[in-house]
């Protein structure tokens, strides 16, 4: 029942995203046919042909209905620019983004929660102050600036762009090391910004629990301090923190876009940019749907995960 409601809500959100995407990007100025053919010898007749190919000659509402109906068939449309199905184009770029975002999120969550717990448990200690201070500062740092600084500071240590060198040996180990080498700066950038948020979330979440009566109970039972923390405080505090971590996934997406731009990381963020210059309507719509979809799914996951981890939720 509750699950059904959540799923329904998520589905509704996606529908709204699809509708919004359609109209929002139609308002983006520019005629895709003109920008496609600019600088090439073209005739008016050819432009008209192209327009008909893309269905841009039809009235807006017709375009909308055909978009909706193909969407219902799982077809995201065809990219003007790449002349291929949007789903395929996005699919190609999904991997790098998932790799970057996944790596960064894993590190950020691990590090963030760990630091947050330590900081909160020893509130106002030097460790806490340092952690909180650094986190607040990193939180204030614009992602792209950090990326550029890192690039400038590290000089020749790391490659300045992309995910792979073209002349790396084809065996798996070399390729993996090459990708890892390229991944260092982008993921540090993304981790720095996202992790800061997670530290603060975890810290305040644990601080909320610090005066819970059940901790007094645990101490009264004779538990060691770290056992009180590990067995009682953290399991409680980590629940809202994890939920928030999942809810803040939009932040990761935003960070990924800027990071990808700075490091020419061949993911969805870069694709988004290229699509905007078209404007490649169907690709933009598809991207919005995918990114918003990712956030929706993350929210849903957060919900489900919360249900699994927190026994109290089942009763509701």
């Amino acid at each position: 029942m509750r699950l059904a409601g959540r799923l329904g809500g998520a589905a509704l959100s996606l529908v709204m995203v699809a509708v919004l995407g359609f109209f929002l990007f139609r308002v983006v100025p520019g005629d895709p046919v003109v920008s496609m053919t600019r600088g090439r010898p073209t005739t008016a007749a050819m432009q008209a042909e192209l327009r008909a190919q893309f269905g841009l000659d039809r009235p807006l509402h017709e375009q909308f209905f055909s978009y909706v109906s193909s969407l219902l068939h799982g077809d995201l449309g065809t990219s003007f620019t790449f002349r291929r199905p949007v789903a395929e184009v996005i699919g190609e770029r999904l991997g790098p983004t998932v790799l970057l975002v996944g790596t960064a999120t894993l590190i950020a969550v691990g590090l963030g929660l760990w630091l947050g717990v330590r900081a909160a448990w020893r509130r106002d200690s030097a460790f806490d102050r340092a952690t909180t201070g650094v986190s607040l500062t990193l939180w204030a740092v614009p992602t792209f600036w950090l990326g550029m600084l890192l690039m400038m500071v590290t000089g020749d240590l790391f490659p300045s762009r992309g995910m792979r060198d073209t002349d790396t040996a084809p065996d798996f180990v070399s390729q993996a090391l090459d990708v890892a080498h390229h991944l260092v700066l982008p993921s540090i950038t993304l981790v720095a910004v996202v992790c800061a948020e997670y530290v603060l979330i975890m810290r305040s979440s644990l601080l909320e629990e610090m005066h819970a009566p059940y901790l007094v109970t645990a101490r009264a039972k004779g538990l060691r301090d770290d056992l009180v923390r590990r067995r009682h405080a953290v399991p409680n505090a980590v629940l809202p923190a994890i939920t928030l971590v999942f809810l803040r996934f939009g932040l990761v997406v935003a960070g990924a876009i800027t990071t990808e731009t700075v490091f020419s990381w061949p993911g969805l963020g870069l694709l988004f940019y290229d699509a905007l210059t078209g404007p490649d309507y169907f690709l933009l719509q598809g991207l919005l749907l995918v990114t918003a979809g990712a956030v929706v799914v993350m929210n849903l996951l957060a919900d489900l995960l919360h249900g699994v981890l927190d026994p109290r939720v089942k009763a509701v």
Binding site: P41, T42, T43, E92, M151, S160, L183, V184, E260
Partner: protein
């Protein structure tokens, strides 16, 4: 447990450090930075400049342009003959040229390609304009192609259409859905496409059976960059070997860089300032909302006179451009037009002021005459800076500017809807000037619905149109050059736009890896974005000595980093452990 996880992650992140830099031995690879996306590898669909350029490496055209002087030379065809009425052209495709899979290249392939475009609307997407005037294409035998045109066409030797192998493409069902990604892609050019990872890179290897002889490099990689800044950086680090489209500042930054050679070349592009001359559709209906004052050619001339092209050249282009005049850049020497001293409008604000007074636009009490909007592209360095200069210079003649820097799309929209007074624009020109001249004919203005136009200057002049028609059927090149120059003079005189500058193409390459490249033209020519593939084809690698990489330094760094991480974690844990006693 969480501690271990963190340590593991840190290790994983640091492992990247241990990666060896590019191997020093192995095949000669030329890595080229590209900033523009690749839209499609299907030559019938690819419209981006980057894709077209790679297409040239994969497929030869019927004819080519020589590297040294850009004259028409042998492509797939080595001989051509127009009929007396210029309506029938006979091309000869000699024996001995082969596709990269070994099949011979014949006239059948040429006829197949052209006929595909004639019959299939989708196949016309990229290069359709070249065949609109064709009435039939037939291969009379394996060596002869006969093309009949509806009207005489002067550009028959400038058909920039990649010829595809019939034996591959006749099996293609739907051109629209064909990505042309059956690696290696069968082609006729000096390189063969072997791998394409969208958004990352494109790999080509040398075509050893190329009829001109194999290129000196083994592989050619195009690496994608989000912006030229990153590309320039990568060049500095040696991650790529060849970069173009640099900004003057970037170009300057490489001046003293070791192992980097710069190439300042004459470019095919010009930058112009559009002056809305009262835009109309092709039916003569006014569109847009240009300031009516600009309909007066005297006003347009006065504006042109008030712009200090030299200042823009020095301060904005940092000298990396040539002063603008006609529509054809000087790189195409014979077509280029320069005003004679008597025709030239010299920078003269006083004269401009006087002209405006005379034209009936006196200064008002506040010292202004009328204000204009100046639209440019945000993010294009030239527009951002030049607008500051124009603002000042036009301000001096009593025309305050409202500068609007907008996105690429918005700029397109503004120019196609003619909702501008002044706007920055620019075009890349081809060896044959037909395209850039044709842009400014009345027919290129949009239809009643505001669509279908290709001009953004909205120039419509009877004299000019007549000249255009004449040059199109003038097969005597000397006479045609004359007409083309007359057209440019007319354009200059009527000023629907001011050609501000012919931008230099700024390129740089790793001189420690490559000794030289073939430029087009030979003097002051470009390496990339040629009307041909000479730059890549003629790349000569340096004979290299193996260089040792400092593995030790990497190792030390790695170990040090790990040690710091571990120490921090252990110490925190210990402190935590003792802290429990304090509670």
């Amino acid at each position: 447990m969480r501690v271990k996880l963190c340590a593991l992650l840190a290790t994983a992140a640091t492992l990247g450090l241990a990666t060896p830099p590019a191997t020093a031995e192995g095949p000669d690879i030329l890595k080229v930075a590209i900033v523009q996306q690749i839209d499609s590898m299907n030559p019938f669909l690819a419209v981006f400049q980057s894709s077209t350029e790679i297409g040239r490496l994969m497929y030869d055209y019927l004819t080519a342009y020589a590297a040294d002087d850009q004259r028409v030379t042998e492509g797939l065809a080595n001989r051509w003959e127009p009929s007396a009425d210029k309506l029938t052209w006979t091309f000869t495709v000699p024996k001995g040229k082969a596709w990269s899979d070994g099949e011979p290249i014949t006239a059948q392939d040429v006829a197949f390609t052209y006929n595909l475009m004639l019959t299939n609307e989708v196949a016309r997407t990229a290069n359709g304009s070249f065949v609109t005037n064709f009435s039939s294409v037939t291969a009379t035998d394996n060596q002869t192609v006969v093309i009949k045109t509806k009207a005489p066409q002067v550009t028959m030797l400038a058909l920039d259409i990649p010829i595809v192998p019939k034996h591959v493409w006749e099996k293609v069902g739907d051109i629209k859905d064909y990505a042309n990604d059956q690696m290696p892609v069968v082609g006729s050019g000096p390189f063969v496409l072997t791998e394409h990872v969208p958004g990352q890179f494109i790999k080509l290897r040398v075509n050893n059976t190329y009829w001109r002889g194999a290129a000196k490099i083994d592989e050619l990689h195009f690496v994608y960059f989000q912006n030229s800044d990153a590309a320039v950086q990568a060049l500095g680090k040696g991650e790529v070997h060849l970069v173009n489209r640099m900004t003057p500042a970037q170009f300057d930054s490489l001046r003293d860089k070791a192992d980097v050679a710069r190439n300042k070349a004459q470019g095919r592009r010009f930058t112009e300032l559009l002056i809305n001359p009262g835009a109309q559709t092709n039916a003569g209906e006014p569109i847009g909302d240009g300031n009516p004052a600009l309909k007066d050619v005297r006003v347009r001339r006065a504006i042109a006179q008030a712009i200090d092209l030299d200042a823009l050249l020095q301060r904005v282009s940092l000298g990396y451009a040539e002063k603008g005049a006609g529509l054809v850049p000087p790189v195409f020497g014979k077509w280029h037009w320069q005003p004679s001293p008597s025709e030239e409008r010299k920078f003269d604000p006083a004269a401009a002021n006087a002209a405006l007074d005379a034209a009936g636009f006196p200064r008002k009490a506040d010292g202004t005459r009328f204000s204009l909007r100046l639209t440019g592209r945000a993010g294009r360095a030239y527009d951002e800076q030049a607008s500051e200069f124009l603002k000042r210079q036009l301000g001096d003649i009593g025309i305050p500017l409202d500068v609007r820097l907008v996105s690429d799309n918005q700029l397109n929209e503004v120019t196609t809807a003619a909702t501008y007074d002044l706007a920055f624009s620019g075009w890349a020109t081809n060896i044959d000037p037909d395209f850039v001249l044709g842009l400014h004919t009345c027919a290129q203005r949009p239809g009643a619905d505001g669509k279908g136009g290709t001009t953004d200057a909205y120039f419509c002049d009877k004299t000019y149109d007549e000249l255009y028609a004449r040059q199109l059927s003038e097969f005597d090149e000397g006479k045609r050059v004359e007409i083309v120059k007359q057209m440019q003079a007319r354009f200059y005189d009527q000023v629907p736009s001011v050609v501000l500058a012919y931008d230099n193409a700024l390129e740089a390459y790793r001189s420690d890896r490559f000794a030289r490249f073939t430029t087009q033209p030979a003097q002051g020519g470009v390496i990339m974005a040629q009307n041909g593939m000479w730059g890549y084809y003629g790349a000569e690698p340096v004979v290299r000595a193996t260089s040792a990489t400092s593995w030790v330094g990497w190792g030390v760094l790695l170990v040090g980093f790990m040690a710091v991480v571990l120490t921090v974690m252990v110490r925190t844990n210990r402190r935590q452990a003792t802290a429990e006693e304090r509670e």
